[in-house]
C-alpha cells in the first residue's frame, strides 16, 4: 500500500458554549437577543469569544495507510472530537485534514439501527448509512450474518434482540464495509468475551490487509494488543506520538500525576455528571497501616471517598482496574446489603470496607462514580492509584510464584 491516509495540519475545533447547558437554544431566546442587539446595542463579540472551547488545537499528525493507531487520553482530551472531524460529522474550525480513501465508523450499539426493523432490513439500512451500495451489501450479506451469529433472528425486529446480538450485528456490518480507513470509538468493550475475541481477530485481520485503523478506547490492553503506534492527546493537542508501549507509559504517568493532584483541579470528569457534589479526595487505607494507597495483599482495607457536599440518596460505584485499565473488580452501593450502614455523622464522605484485598502485588487504580438524587453527580477515572505489596493470603505468600492475572483467592490444597 504505502502513502498517506490521514494528514492534519493545525487542525482546530471550537465549540461554542453558552446559550444554555444543553447546547441548543430556543427561538424565543434568540429573538429576544436579536431584539436587544438591534435596539439596545451592547457588547456581543466579547461575550461569544469568552464562551467557546477549543476541543482540538493546532493538531498536526500524519497517519500512513496501513497503520493501526491508538488514540489515548483523558475524558475531554479531544479523542472523540478528532474522530468526528475525520469522519466528516462535524467541520473543523481551523486548519485542515486530508483523508484519502473511504472512511467507515464503527458505531455504538444501536446507532443506525431502527428497533422496529428486522435484522435483515437493518443490515441494509446500516450499510447504506455507512456509505455502502446495495449491491455491495448484498454481496457480503451472508458473511455479515454469519459473523454476527444471528441467522435465526434475521427476520425478527431488532428491538427483540439482546444487546449482545445488536452489538454483534453492528460490528459485523461495519467490519465488512471494508473501508480504507476505519474509525473505532470505544465499541469493543461490549459483547461477550468470545465475541470480543472474534472481533479483535477481525480487527487484526483488517489491520493486516493494509487498511488504516484508528482506535479510541479506555481499555489500554486492547489498544496495546492491536496498535503499533499511540497518540496521546491532552486538551486537544498531541503531546506524545510514539510506539504504542511508550505512549501508554506516558499516559499512565499523566494519570498518576493527575491522581496525586487535588482532585477538584481535574477537568476530565464524567461528561454526564450534574456536579452538585464533587469527589475531593479518594484514598485506600489498609487497616492499621500507616500510609494511604499502599496495601499488603490479603489485608482488610477501606476505600474513602471525600466529597464536597452531602446530598440525599448518595450512591457510589468504585472500579478497581489494573495498570492497563482493565477492570479487576468493582463495588456498587446501589446493590444493597443488610450489612450496609447509614451513618448520619459521616458527613460528605462515603466509605467502602473490604474484609480482605485479594490482589496480587502490583499497581492498581480506582475509578469512581458518585450518584445522588438518582443522577450521576461526578465521575473520575483513576481517582487514585495504589500499590499492592506482597502479603500473605490464607497462610501463603501472595504472588511469590509469579502467578498470572490480578487476583489471588484464599485457598487450601489437599494433596495425597
Amino acid at each position: 500500500m504505502g502513502g498517506v491516509a490521514i494528514q492534519t495540519n493545525e487542525l482546530g475545533k471550537r465549540y461554542l458554549l453558552g446559550l444554555n447547558q444543553r447546547g441548543y437554544g430556543t427561538l424565543r431566546e434568540s429573538l429576544v437577543k436579536a431584539g436587544r442587539r438591534h435596539f439596545g446595542g451592547g457588547a456581543k463579540t466579547a461575550e461569544s469569544e469568552a464562551s467557546s472551547l477549543w476541543a482540538l488545537r493546532d493538531l498536526s499528525m500524519t497517519v500512513n495507510s496501513g497503520e493501526v493507531v491508538g488514540l489515548i487520553g483523558h475524558n475531554g482530551a479531544g479523542k472523540s472530537t478528532l474522530l468526528k472531524v475525520l469522519s466528516r460529522v462535524t467541520e473543523p474550525s481551523a486548519g485542515w485534514a486530508e483523508v484519502t480513501g473511504r472512511v467507515g465508523s464503527l458505531l455504538e450499539v444501536g446507532t443506525g439501527f431502527h428497533p422496529e426493523l428486522t435484522g435483515r432490513e437493518n443490515v441494509f439500512l446500516n450499510g447504506a448509512i455507512l456509505g455502502m451500495r446495495r449491491a455491495e451489501i448484498r454481496a457480503r450479506f451472508d458473511e455479515i450474518v454469519e459473523f454476527a451469529e444471528i441467522e435465526r433472528f434475521l427476520d425478527t425486529p431488532v428491538k427483540r434482540y439482546s444487546s449482545g446480538m445488536a452489538v454483534r450485528l453492528a460490528f459485523a456490518v461495519a467490519a465488512y464495509l471494508e473501508p480504507e480507513i476505519l474509525l473505532v470509538d470505544e465499541v469493543l468493550a461490549v459483547g461477550d468475551a468470545a465475541f470480543q475475541r472474534k472481533s479483535l481477530g477481525k480487527m487484526g485481520e483488517v489491520a493486516q490487509e493494509g487498511r488504516t485503523v484508528i482506535f479510541v478506547s479506555h481499555n489500554l490492553a486492547i489498544i496495546q494488543a492491536l496498535c503499533q503506534r499511540g497518540i496521546l492527546l491532552e486538551r486537544g493537542e498531541v503531546v506524545v506520538d510514539a510506539p504504542i508501549g511508550e505512549a501508554i507509559g506516558s499516559y499512565l504517568r499523566t494519570l498518576e500525576r493527575a491522581a496525586s493532584d487535588d482532585l477538584l483541579q481535574r477537568t476530565d470528569r464524567d461528561s454526564r455528571a450534574y456536579d452538585d457534589t464533587l469527589v475531593r479526595r479518594l484514598e485506600i487505607h489498609e487497616e492499621g497501616g500507616d500510609s494511604a494507597n499502599v496495601i499488603l495483599s490479603g489485608r482488610p482495607a477501606t476505600i474513602i471517598v471525600d466529597l464536597t457536599e452531602e446530598l440525599p440518596r448518595m450512591e457510589c460505584q468504585l472500579t478497581i482496574a489494573n495498570s492497563l485499565g482493565q477492570a479487576v473488580t468493582g463495588f456498587d452501593s446501589r446493590v444493597s446489603s443488610p450489612e450496609d450502614v447509614h451513618d448520619g455523622e459521616l458527613g460528605p464522605r462515603i466509605e467502602c470496607e473490604l474484609a480482605s484485598l485479594p490482589l496480587l502485588p502490583g499497581r492498581y487504580r480506582i475509578d469512581v462514580i458518585v450518584r445522588a438524587k438518582g443522577q450521576i453527580q461526578d465521575g473520575l477515572q483513576a481517582a487514585a492509584f495504589f500499590d499492592v505489596e506482597p502479603g500473605v493470603i490464607a497462610g501463603r505468600p501472595a504472588g511469590a510464584d509469579g502467578a498470572d492475572g490480578d487476583v489471588i483467592l484464599p485457598h487450601r490444597w489437599r494433596l495425597p
Binding site: Y15, Y24, L27, R28, R88, W96, S105, G112, L125, G131
Partner: protein, 278 residues
C-alpha cells in the same frame, strides 16, 4: 472491490453554500435515500394498529367533520359539488402535505443519534419523509377515486396531471420541511410552533372553501401558496368540475420551486452545525 484509486477529501472550515447539495456526495449516497424512505414506510405501516387504513382515515375523518360544520351548518359554497366530495378531493393532497411538513420538521432531531455520529447527506432525512408519504397518498387517492365514481361523478382528463400536482406539493413540503428541520435543530421550540403553523396554513388554503370565493386579482395572488394550485387542480382532475385551473397551478408550481430553493439554501447553511447542536 473498487479498482480506482481512493480519492482524497480535504476537510476544512467552509462558509457559504454547497455542502449539502454537493452532487458528488448525493450520488455516492444515493442508495441511502431509498433506504431511509423504505425505513420510514416500513416503520409507519408495521407498528401502527390500523396500518394502511391510517392513510385513509385521516382525510375521511376530516371530510366528515368539515362536511358537518362547514358544509351543513355554515353552508359554505362548494362550487355546486357535494360538499363531502368537494372537501375530500382537497384533503387528500392536504394530508400528504401536512404530514410531510410535520414529520419532516422533526426528522433531524428524531435521528439525532445518527446525525451526531456519522456523516451522510442530511437532506436525505426530510427527503425520506416526503418520499414515504407517496405511499399514503397513493392509497388515499385510490379511495378518493372509488368514492367519486360511487357518487356518480367522473374524473376529467386532468387526472393525468395528478402526478405533477403531487410533485408540486412534494417540492413545497421538502423545501419548507427541510428548513423547519434545520431550524428545529437550533431551536427546540420550533416543534411546538409547527403544528400551529400547519393549522393556519390549512385555513389559508382552499380546503374547506373554494378559491372562487376570493375575488380577482387576489385569487391569482393566493396561488403563491402552492397548495392553492394543488388543491384546485386536484378538484378539477378528480371531480371533473369546471375549467382547468392552469393559471393557479402554474403560479403554485413556480412558488413551490422557489420555496424548495430557499428551503434547501437555508438547510445547506445550517447543515455544518447540526452535529454540534443536535
Amino acid at each position: 472491490m473498487s479498482v480506482q484509486a481512493p480519492e482524497t477529501v480535504r476537510l476544512r472550515p467552509t462558509s457559504g453554500f454547497g455542502r449539502v447539495l454537493s452532487p458528488r456526495d448525493l450520488w455516492r449516497y444515493r442508495d441511502l435515500a431509498s433506504q431511509i424512505a423504505l425505513r420510514d414506510i416500513t416503520v409507519r405501516y408495521r407498528q401502527t394498529f390500523l396500518g394502511a387504513a391510517w392513510a385513509v382515515l385521516q382525510p375521511i375523518g376530516f371530510m366528515v367533520v368539515f362536511s358537518l360544520f362547514f358544509g351543513s351548518l355554515a353552508g359554505i359554497s362548494s362550487d355546486g359539488l357535494p360538499y363531502p366530495l368537494f372537501s375530500l378531493a382537497a384533503l387528500v393532497p392536504w394530508t400528504f402535505f401536512s404530514n410531510a411538513l410535520l414529520l419532516g420538521s422533526d426528522s433531524l432531531v428524531s435521528n439525532s443519534a445518527l446525525v451526531s455520529k456519522i456523516y451522510f447527506p442530511r437532506i436525505f432525512m426530510p427527503f425520506g419523509v416526503v418520499v414515504a408519504g407517496f405511499v399514503d397518498i397513493a392509497i388515499s387517492f385510490v379511495i378518493l377515486i372509488a368514492i367519486v365514481l360511487f357518487w356518480g361523478y367522473s374524473p376529467s382528463w386532468g387526472i393525468l396531471l395528478v402526478p405533477i400536482l403531487v410533485a408540486i406539493a412534494a417540492l413545497a413540503a421538502l423545501g419548507v420541511g427541510a428548513a423547519l428541520s434545520a431550524l428545529n435543530v437550533r431551536y427546540r421550540d420550533v416543534k411546538y410552533v409547527v403544528p400551529f403553523g400547519i393549522q393556519m396554513w390549512l385555513f389559508a388554503s382552499p380546503v374547506a372553501y373554494p378559491s372562487s370565493l376570493i375575488g380577482e386579482p387576489w385569487r391569482l395572488v393566493s396561488a403563491i401558496n402552492p397548495m392553492v394550485g394543488v388543491i384546485e387542480g386536484f378538484r378539477w382532475a378528480t371531480l371533473g368540475s369546471g375549467d382547468a385551473p392552469l393559471d393557479l397551478m402554474g403560479i403554485s408550481a413556480l412558488s413551490a420551486i422557489v420555496l424548495l430553493l430557499v428551503g434547501l439554501a437555508y438547510f445547506d447553511r445550517a447543515e455544518r452545525g447540526f452535529a454540534d447542536f443536535v
